[in-house]
């Protein structure tokens, strides 16, 4: 396939994938501004490297791997220097939940459960629980052993379960 055609395949596919790429980048960076920078940088890099994309394979997965590499090699350091990356959980500006939804934990905790996780657990949980990666696929994408995927997912679940349990306990006391 000609380079131009591949570039067009990448260009045409990015629109549908971009919101999920953005979410992946925000999850990696733990911060919206840094995540947005990373998502945009990934798109630019993807267009440059479009010749390496194999049409018919998963564009989203290709972009995720590229985003992670960019984050680890380049942007993370810059974000840390600028003080925008890897901030404490309390400072994260994740969105408010839909109003009127009755949850059995306090509404803001729906998001806190994600942001409270360490970066490694957060990204692994996103790939496995949300993006539908198998443990083996997540291990390959994150360049870690399958056992590490398993322990990160387990730790993420356990800490959220504990947090939700505490919140329910607190909710009962308030009432």
């Amino acid at each position: 396939m000609r380079w131009g055609a591949r570039k067009n395949a990448v260009r045409a596919g990015i629109g549908a994938v971009y919101p999920r790429l953005w979410r992946f980048c925000v999850s990696l960076a733990g911060d919206r501004a840094a995540g947005e920078d990373l998502a945009q940088a990934t798109v630019l890099r993807a267009l440059e490297q479009a010749a390496k994309f194999q049409p018919g394979t998963h564009l989203d997965r290709w972009l995720f791997v590229m985003a992670r590499r960019l984050w680890l090699n380049e942007l993370r350091h810059r974000a840390v220097r600028k003080g925008t990356g890897l901030r404490p959980v309390e400072e994260l500006d994740l969105p408010d939940p839909a109003p009127g939804i009755e949850t059995h934990i306090f509404a803001s905790e729906v998001f806190d459960v994600v942001t409270a996780l360490p970066e490694a657990q957060r990204v692994t949980a996103l790939l496995v629980l949300v993006e539908g990666y198998s443990y083996a696929e997540a291990a390959e994408a994150l360049d870690i052993p399958v056992g590490t995927v398993m322990s990160r997912i387990a730790a993420a679940r356990r800490s959220v379960a504990a947090r939700v349990g505490d919140a329910q306990e607190a909710g009962r006391k308030v009432r």
Binding site: I14, P19, R20, P95, A98, V114, E131, M150, A156, R157
Partner: protein, 238 residues
């Protein structure tokens, strides 16, 4: 003696990554030990909370950049205005579908629904009144009161039947849309916590899933527009 499992084993079981022997042992322990069953449910709910958190984040995802060659250079449109979460989320997720992994019962329902053709529901011989009576009869098995369930826009009630998933009763209320396409509202008792509606494509069918504190709902089949509208009405009533 009750067997104990590590968090890794529990997680692998919940993610469908446990080998069959482990899965059998965990399922047996769940049935034998209420404390373990509660812990397993808490770990499953924790996963659902994470999915809900990540899905909610999607509501604020910005538009994709304009990459058309005509744009000359990439024109970043900045962040989309804060979008109310909910069904609207689906509209900005590119092709219109979120990609989170649905729970197992939803996947089974979708696979089942995919086998339905218009003739499946055309042959249902219950009158709407009889179908409503049947719903009233079956609902208590799930511990739910469905007397407030209204007619759903664009859908004709055909029948109600009890199915089962993993030993749990699963109520299926079957409808046909205006073109006779099968649509089903499926309900299962599930204390995983309330969750906002999420739209997905499952087995090639549009589906909206949501949950209350005690029950999970999946409306699937027909067209995306119909299930969105019908889900809104059903959810408001229940």
């Amino acid at each position: 003696m009750v067997e104990r499992f590590t968090d890794e084993e529990i997680s692998a079981f919940l993610d469908g990554e446990a080998d069959p022997a482990l899965a059998v042992r965990i399922a047996a322990a769940r049935d034998a030990d209420p404390d373990f069953a509660a812990d397993l449910a808490a770990m499953e709910a924790a996963g659902a909370h994470l999915v809900a958190g990540f899905d909610a984040l999607m509501a604020d995802a910005p538009d994709a950049p304009d990459l058309s060659p005509a744009a000359g250079r990439i024109a970043w449109r900045g962040m989309a205005a804060g979008f109310a979460a909910g069904i609207a989320v689906a509209a900005i997720a590119g092709a219109g579908w979120l990609y989170s992994r649905p729970p197992a019962w939803e996947r089974y329902v979708a696979a089942y629904q995919a086998l339905y053709v218009p003739a499946t529901v055309a042959g249902a011989d219950l009158t709407p009144d009889a179908a409503r009576a049947r719903i009233a009869e079956l609902a208590p098995e799930l511990g739910i009161d469905l007397s407030a369930l209204p007619d759903l826009p664009g859908l004709n009630l055909r029948r109600a039947q009890m199915l089962g998933h993993d030993g749990q009763p699963l109520l299926q209320i079957a409808y046909a849309d205006a073109e006779g396409r099968p649509v089903a509202l499926c309900i299962i008792a599930r204390a995983g916590g309330a969750s906002a509606p999420v739209m997905r494509e499952m087995e090639g069918l549009p589906a909206v899933a949501w949950a209350t504190d005690a029950h999970a709902f999946l409306l699937i089949g027909g067209t995306a527009e119909t299930v969105q509208k019908a889900a809104k009405v059903a959810r408001a009533a229940l």
